[in-house]
C-alpha cells in the first residue's frame, strides 16, 4: 500500500524549477532513500510534503488523502514528522524539554508526555544528555535530537533530511541502528542522504533526483547498476 504519493509535483522559484513533474510512491513500512547532487531539489520536496512550501503544481497524498497546501502543524498532526538538514534545536531548552515539547502533541498531560519523552530519549541514546541545553550538544547529537523530537510526535511517516551528514564512523553506526529500529516500529521512512554506504545498507528502494527531475527509481542493486545515475551522481563520488 502507498503511504505517500507524489503526483506531478513541481515547485518553481522564479524561473528555477527546483522540482519538475516528479512522481513516485513511498510504500508502507519501507525505507525510501532520496538521493541526488547538491541543489537537486531534495529538501524542496520535503518542504512540499510537510507544508512549508505550497507546490506550484501537482499533489501530495498521504494515506490516499491530499495534503497539498496544508500548514506544517496540520501535516504533523496527520502523522508526518520531519527533521531539518540545518538542525533547528530549541537552543535554550534542555534536550529533555525539546523532546517533551513534541511529545505533548499526542499526550496533552504532562505525565503522558514525559513517558513518551523518556522512551524516545532512551531509544535514541540521548538519555544521558537529557539535562544539557541543546545548544551545547555536539553536532552528532544535535542531529540525533532532531530525530528524537520527530519521533516524540509519534508519527507514522518520518522524513529525515541528511541525518548522517557530518557524523563520525562510530556515530554513523549508532544512527543506522536507530533508523533500523524506527523501521521495526512500523514507521515508514523517507530519507535524504549523501552517504552511499549508509544508503545501500538501510534503504529498501531509492529515488534519484537531478535538477529537479526524477531520473531513476529502484532497489539499491538496480540503482548502482544504472548508468545515468552513476554519471549524474555516483560518478562524482567515485571520482572524488
Amino acid at each position: 500500500m502507498s503511504m505517500l504519493e507524489i503526483r506531478k509535483l513541481s515547485m518553481f522559484f522564479g524561473g528555477l524549477a527546483a522540482l519538475h513533474d516528479v512522481n513516485f510512491d513511498v510504500r508502507q513500512g519501507e525505507i525510501l532513500a532520496l538521493i541526488g547532487p547538491n541543489g537537486a531539489g531534495k529538501t524542496t520536496l520535503f518542504n512540499c510534503v510537510n507544508g512549508f512550501y505550497n507546490p506550484s503544481e501537482g499533489q501530495v497524498l498521504f494515506k490516499g488523502k491530499p495534503i497539498t497546501g496544508l500548514k506544517p502543524h496540520k501535516v504533523c498532526n496527520l502523522g508526518i514528522a520531519r527533521t531539518f538538514q540545518v538542525v533547528k534545536p530549541l537552543s535554550r531548552m534542555s534536550v529533555f524539554d525539546n523532546v517533551l515539547a513534541s511529545a505533548f502533541l499526542r499526550n496533552p498531560t504532562r505525565k503522558g508526555a514525559e513517558d513518551v519523552a523518556d522512551e524516545v530519549l532512551h531509544f535514541t541514546g540521548l538519555w544521558d544528555d537529557r539535562d544539557q541545553l541543546s545548544k551545547g550538544l555536539p553536532l552528532g547529537k544535535r542531529k540525533r535530537l532532531e530525530i528524537a523530537r520527530a519521533l516524540a510526535t509519534q508519527p507514522e511517516f518520518l522524513l529525515l533530511d541528511e541525518s548522517f551528514a557530518g557524523l563520525n564512523p562510530a556515530e554513523l553506526d549508532v544512527s543506522i541502528d536507530i533508523i533500523r529500529g524506527i523501521k521495526q516500529q512500523g514507521i515508514t521512512v523517507m530519507i535524504i542522504e549523501h552517504h552511499m554506504k549508509v544508503i545501500m545498507a538501510i534503504s529498501d528502494r531509492i529515488v534519484v533526483l537531478n535538477f529537479g527531475q526524477k531520473i531513476a527509481e529502484g532497489t539499491p542493486a538496480e540503482i548502482s547498476a544504472n548508468r545515468q545515475v552513476v554519471e549524474a551522481y555516483l560518478g562524482e563520488e567515485h571520482g572524488a
Binding site: N50, F52, K71, P72, H73, C76, N77, A81, R82, F84, K88, P89, L90, S91, R92, M93, D97, L100, A101, S102, F104, L105, P108, R110, A113, R149, A150, T153
Partner: protein, 313 residues
C-alpha cells in the same frame, strides 16, 4: 509542582508588611511595585516565554483602566466591577489583534503592537462623548488609607503568579518557548504557532488589563495620555521585565521593585528629574548590553564577577 515553598514565604512576608505600620508613602511604593509586577508577569508570558515582544501593552493596560472608568461614568457602577468588565473586552481585542498581527513575524509584529497602543490612545482622546477625551475620568476612591488597596493588588499579583506558573509548566508553556526558540521547528513539530501565540497574547493582555483596572481604582483619575502612554506604560513594562529577567519567574517582581524605586528617586532629583524617561532609555541600553538576561537571569554571571572583584581585596 516542585517548589511552592518560596512563593508562599514571599506571599506571607508581603502580607505581613502592612502590620509594621508603614507610612503611606512606603505603602504607595509597594502598591505600585506590585502593580508593575502584575503587568510585568503578564508581559513576560508573551514577550519572555513566547518571544513575541510587544511595545503596545499600554493598549491592554489602558483598556482595563477605561473599563473601570467607563462603567462608572456611564452605568454608575462601582469601578471595582472594572476587573470583571475588562476581561471580556481585553480578551476580544487581543483575540482580534492576534489573528491579524500574529501572522506577522519579527519587526512587523513589534511595529504592529506599537501602532495599536498609539491608535487606542488617539481614539480615546477623540471619542470625547464616550470617554471625555483628554479631560479624563475621575472616580471617588473607595478608601483613604492604602492598606485595602495593598491587599487587593497583592491578591491579584499572587493569582497572576499562579496562572503564569501553571501555564509555564504545562503544554502551553512548552509550546510558547518552542515558538520563541524556532518558529519553523515548532510548526513542523505539530504546534499551531498562530494559535498558541494568540493564546499567549490573550492571557497576557487580560492580566495586563487587570493591572489597568486596578490603576483606575487606586489612582482615582485616568486620562488617555497616561494609561495608553508609550513611555510610561508600554516601555516601563518592558523595562521591568528586562531589568528583572526575561522568561524568569521572579524577574518581573525584582524588576518592578527596582524600577519603581528608581523612577521615584530620579524624579526627585533637581534638574535632571524631568529627563527621567531619557535616563530609563540609557538604563535599558546598559541592561541590554551587560545583563541581557536581567538580574535574575544573569545572576550566576553577576555573582562570579562580583566574587572575582572581591577576592583580591
Amino acid at each position: 509542582m516542585k517548589n511552592n515553598l518560596a512563593p508562599l514565604i514571599v506571599l506571607a512576608v508581603l502580607a505581613a508588611l502592612p502590620l509594621l505600620g508603614l507610612n503611606s508613602y512606603v505603602m504607595h511604593i509597594l502598591i505600585l511595585s506590585i502593580m508593575w509586577t502584575l503587568a510585568g508577569m503578564a508581559w513576560n508570558l508573551l514577550g519572555g516565554y513566547c518571544g513575541q515582544v510587544s511595545f503596545g501593552h499600554a493598549a491592554f493596560f489602558g483598556m482595563g483602566a477605561y473599563s473601570a472608568g467607563l462603567i462608572h461614568l456611564h452605568l454608575g457602577a462601582s469601578p471595582w466591577w472594572g476587573f470583571l468588565a475588562s476581561l471580556p473586552v481585553v480578551a476580544l481585542v487581543a483575540l482580534g489583534m492576534g489573528s491579524v498581527v500574529l501572522r506577522l513575524r519579527g519587526p512587523y509584529f513589534v511595529l504592529a503592537t506599537l501602532a495599536i497602543g498609539e491608535v487606542l490612545r488617539i481614539t480615546c482622546e477623540n471619542l470625547t462623548d464616550f470617554t471625555k477625551g483628554t479631560l479624563g475620568i475621575m472616580i471617588t476612591r473607595t478608601w483613604v488609607e492604602k492598606t485595602q488597596y495593598y491587599y487587593i493588588i497583592l491578591g491579584l499579583a499572587a493569582l497572576a503568579f499562579i496562572v503564569c506558573r501553571v501555564i509555564v509548566h504545562s503544554r502551553w508553556g512548552y509550546y510558547f518557548v518552542a515558538i520563541r526558540e524556532d518558529q519553523d521547528a515548532a510548526e513542523s513539530l505539530g504546534i499551531d504557532t498562530t494559535r498558541y501565540k494568540t493564546i499567549a497574547l490573550t492571557v497576557s493582555a487580560m492580566l495586563t488589563g487587570l493591572a489597568g483596572a486596578f490603576y483606575t481604582n487606586y489612582m482615582g483619575y485616568i486620562d488617555p495620555g497616561v494609561v495608553f502612554s508609550l513611555g510610561e506604560i508600554s516601555i516601563l513594562i518592558i523595562m521591568v521585565v528586562m531589568v528583572g529577567g526575561v522568561a524568569t519567574e521572579w524577574g518581573p517582581a525584582l524588576g518592578a521593585g527596582i524600577m519603581v524605586i528608581l523612577a521615584e528617586y530620579i524624579r526627585s532629583l533637581p534638574l535632571i528629574g524631568v529627563a527621567y524617561q531619557t535616563m530609563f532609555g540609557v538604563l535599558l541600553i546598559v541592561i541590554i548590553i551587560y545583563l541581557p538576561n536581567g538580574l535574575v537571569g544573569d545572576w550566576p554571571v553577576l555573582k562570579r564577577k562580583l566574587l572575582r572583584r572581591g577576592a583580591p581585596a
